[in-house]
C-alpha cells in the first residue's frame, strides 16, 4: 500500500539532507504550491566552473515535496549548472523511485522548479519553456 512512503522517502522527510541556510549563496529562490501550501526556500552555491558546491533549503509541506527536495539536493551537489538545467520531470520521478499521480507529482516537482527558476533568474536567461509557472507552482527571487 505505502509504495509512496517507502522507508527511503520517509527517512529523507524525517531527516532531510542539506537542510538549513548558507551564508553566501550564489543564488536563492523560493516557491510554493498554493494547492497544499508546500513551501521551499532554496540556496545554491556555485564555483567559478559553474559547478554546484553547496545547497541548503528550508521549507515545510508534505513528505513528497520535502523528501524530493532533500534527494534532489544530494543529487545536484557536484553537478554543473548545465547538467541541472537538463533535469526533467522524469528524472525526479526516477530519483524518488515511486509512481505519482498528477497532483502528487506537483509536490515532487516543487524543489526542481525552484532550483531551475533561481538558476535562470540568476543567469539572466529566460525560464525554460514549460517550466515557468509549471503546474500552478509559483516562485520568487529572494
Amino acid at each position: 500500500m505505502d509504495d509512496l512512503y517507502r522507508e527511503f522517502i520517509l527517512e529523507h522527510y524525517r531527516n532531510p539532507q542539506n537542510y538549513g541556510t548558507l551564508e553566501h549563496p550564489t543564488f536563492e529562490a523560493e516557491g510554493q504550491n498554493p494547492l497544499c501550501g508546500d513551501e521551499l526556500h532554496v540556496q545554491v552555491e556555485v564555483d567559478d566552473a559553474k559547478v554546484i558546491t553547496a545547497v541548503r533549503f528550508t521549507g515545510q509541506g508534505c513528505a513528497i515535496s520535502q523528501a524530493a527536495m532533500s534527494i534532489l539536493s544530494d543529487e545536484i551537489i557536484g553537478k554543473s549548472l548545465e547538467d541541472v538545467a537538463k533535469l526533467s520531470r522524469e528524472d525526479i520521478v526516477e530519483l524518488l523511485g515511486i509512481e505519482l499521480t498528477p497532483v502528487r507529482l506537483k509536490c515532487a516537482l516543487l524543489g526542481l522548479v525552484v532550483v531551475k527558476m533561481g538558476m535562470h533568474d540568476h543567469a539572466g536567461t529566460a525560464a525554460p519553456a514549460g517550466w515557468e509557472g509549471v503546474d500552478e507552482i509559483s516562485w520568487a527571487r529572494t
Partner: protein
C-alpha cells in the same frame, strides 16, 4: 442477548438505510485500489451518482433527444418537456414561487457570476457596501472582489472566531459609512461545515434594504431549503453536489429582481427579436439562458432531485447529522488529531476538516486512498479562511446519504495506519 449488548441496544435507527441507498451507486461497490467498497468521504467536492441519474442521461440520448424550445417534432417536444420539468423540480425543491425564477447554469460558480455581473456591475457604485463572510468559497468571494473593484464598491467581511463560527456581534458596524447593497454569504461552509445564521443575517440585511444572496452549494443537497421562508433574494447551487451530473446547476432569484436585471450572456434562446443593430430580450427565465443549455444534464439533475426527495431530504439530513457526529467523536479519539470548525454539539454540515500533528494533509489523503478511503486535502477553495485559521491545508471528510458507519470506521483505521507510517504510533 447477553453477548452483544451494545449491538442489541442499537442506537435509534436512522430512518435512512445507507446500505440500501449505496446499492443505487455503482461506483461505490468496488474501490479501485482494494476491491473493497469505496469509502467515499468527499461528497462536499462532488457527490456520486445513482443509477437513476445515469439512466436519465441515457434515456435522454436514447429516446427523447433534440435541441430544446424551438423544435416542432416529437423528440424536440419531449426533450423540452423533460428539460422544463427539471425547472419545476428545482422550483419545488426550493419552494420558489414560479419556475420563471429558476435559471439553469453550469453550477454555483456561474450562478454567482451571473448575479455579480448582471446585478452587481449595473447597480453597485462607489459608496456601496457588499458584505460577505470570512468563510467563503472562492466562488462567492472572487466575483464580488471583482465586481467591487470594477464599480468602486467596498467588500467587507463578517468575521469568524477561531472555531470558524460566524461572529455576528459586529454586524451593525459593517453597514456603517456607506450604503449596504448586497449580503452574499455561504449557507454551510464547505471547509468547516459551519452553519451560517441566516436567521440573524437576513433580517439585518433587510433592515438596510440590502439584497441577500446565499451560496447553497453545501446546503441545498443536504437539508430542506425554502427560499421564501428564508426571505432571501438569490440562491445558487450545483447539481453535481446533489447527485446530479456535472455541467448543471441553478440560480434562483426573486422574479421582480431578475426581471429588472440585464442579461449577461448573449446569443440564441435569450433573445426575442434581433436586428443587425439591436436586440430585445426574452422573458424569464430564458433571458438568462443564452445558447443551447445542458439539456440532458439539467434533465438528469431533475432526476437527482426526485431521487433525493424520494429518499426524503429530512431523512438524508438526519442521517448525515448522525454520521457527522459519529465521525467527529471518533476523530477526536485519534491521538494528535485536531478537528477544525465548530465544536462537537454545535450545528454543522456534514464536513469535518482535520489535521494530524506531524503529517501533511496530502500525505494523509494519499495514504488513505490506498485503503480506498477518499478524503480531500488542500485549501478547499477557501484560501483566505485557511490563512485566517493559521493553516495551509486540511484533510477533509464529508458525508452524504450513502455514507455508512463502516466508511467512517475505515477512515479511523486508515488514520491509525497513517500515524504508524509516519512514526507517530
Amino acid at each position: 442477548m447477553t453477548d452483544a449488548p451494545t449491538r442489541a441496544a442499537a442506537p435509534v435507527a436512522s430512518p435512512l438505510d445507507p446500505e440500501r441507498v449505496s446499492a443505487d451507486f455503482p461506483i461505490l461497490a468496488v474501490g479501485p485500489n482494494t476491491g473493497r467498497r469505496l469509502a467515499y468521504l468527499d461528497s462536499a467536492a462532488s457527490a456520486m451518482k445513482p443509477s437513476q441519474v445515469i439512466d436519465s442521461l441515457r434515456a435522454t440520448y436514447e429516446s427523447a433527444y433534440a435541441n430544446v424550445h424551438r423544435g416542432v417534432y416529437a423528440h424536440a417536444a419531449a426533450a423540452t418537456e423533460n428539460f422544463e420539468a427539471a425547472r419545476e423540480a428545482v422550483r419545488d425543491l426550493l419552494n420558489a414561487r414560479s419556475p420563471r425564477e429558476v435559471i439553469f447554469t453550469r453550477g454555483t460558480t456561474e450562478a454567482i457570476n451571473l448575479v455579480a455581473y448582471s446585478w452587481g456591475r449595473t447597480n453597485l457604485e462607489a459608496g456601496d457596501i457588499v458584505v460577505t463572510t470570512e468563510l467563503e468559497h472562492h466562488s462567492n468571494l472572487v466575483p464580488w472582489q471583482q465586481a467591487c473593484a470594477a464599480t468602486g464598491a467596498e467588500l467587507r467581511f463578517i468575521p469568524v472566531d477561531d472555531d470558524g463560527v460566524i461572529d455576528v456581534s459586529g454586524l451593525d458596524a459593517l453597514a456603517e459609512g456607506g450604503r449596504l447593497r448586497m449580503v452574499a454569504v455561504v449557507h454551510v461552509s464547505n471547509s468547516l461545515g459551519t452553519h451560517v445564521p441566516l436567521d440573524v443575517i437576513v433580517p439585518w440585511a433587510k433592515s438596510h434594504d440590502a439584497l441577500v444572496l446565499v451560496d447553497g452549494a453545501q446546503s441545498v443537497p443536504h437539508r430542506s431549503v425554502d427560499v421564501q421562508a428564508l426571505g432571501i433574494d438569490f440562491l445558487a447551487f450545483s447539481g453535481h453536489k446533489l447527485m446530479g451530473p456535472t455541467g448543471a446547476g441553478a440560480l434562483w432569484g426573486r422574479e421582480e429582481l431578475l426581471a429588472e436585471m440585464p442579461p449577461w450572456q448573449f446569443g440564441g434562446e435569450m433573445i426575442r427579436r434581433v436586428e443587425y443593430e439591436t436586440s430585445t430580450f426574452n422573458d424569464l427565465p430564458w433571458k438568462f439562458e443564452a445558447g443551447t443549455p445542458a439539456i440532458a444534464e439539467v434533465t438528469a439533475m431533475g432526476a437527482a432531485i426526485r431521487y433525493l426527495q424520494e429518499l426524503g431530504i429530512d431523512a438524508v439530513h438526519q442521517h448525515e447529522v448522525e454520521m457527522t457526529r459519529y465521525a467527529h467523536e471518533r476523530l477526536l479519539d485519534v491521538p494528535g488529531l485536531r478537528v477544525l470548525g465548530p465544536e462537537l454539539g454545535v450545528e454543522r454540515g456534514g464536513v469535518l476538516s482535520f489535521l494530524i500533528e506531524g503529517t501533511h494533509p496530502h500525505d494523509i489523503a494519499t495514504l488513505l486512498d490506498t485503503y480506498d478511503v477518499n478524503v480531500r486535502a488542500g485549501h478547499h477553495c477557501t484560501q483566505p479562511l485557511m490563512k485566517r485559521l493559521g493553516v495551509h491545508a486540511t484533510a477533509r471528510a464529508s458525508v452524504y446519504a450513502y455514507t455508512t458507519r463502516e466508511d467512517i470506521d475505515r477512515l479511523i483505521d486508515g488514520l491509525a495506519e497513517v500515524r504508524r507510517v509516519f512514526g507517530l504510533a
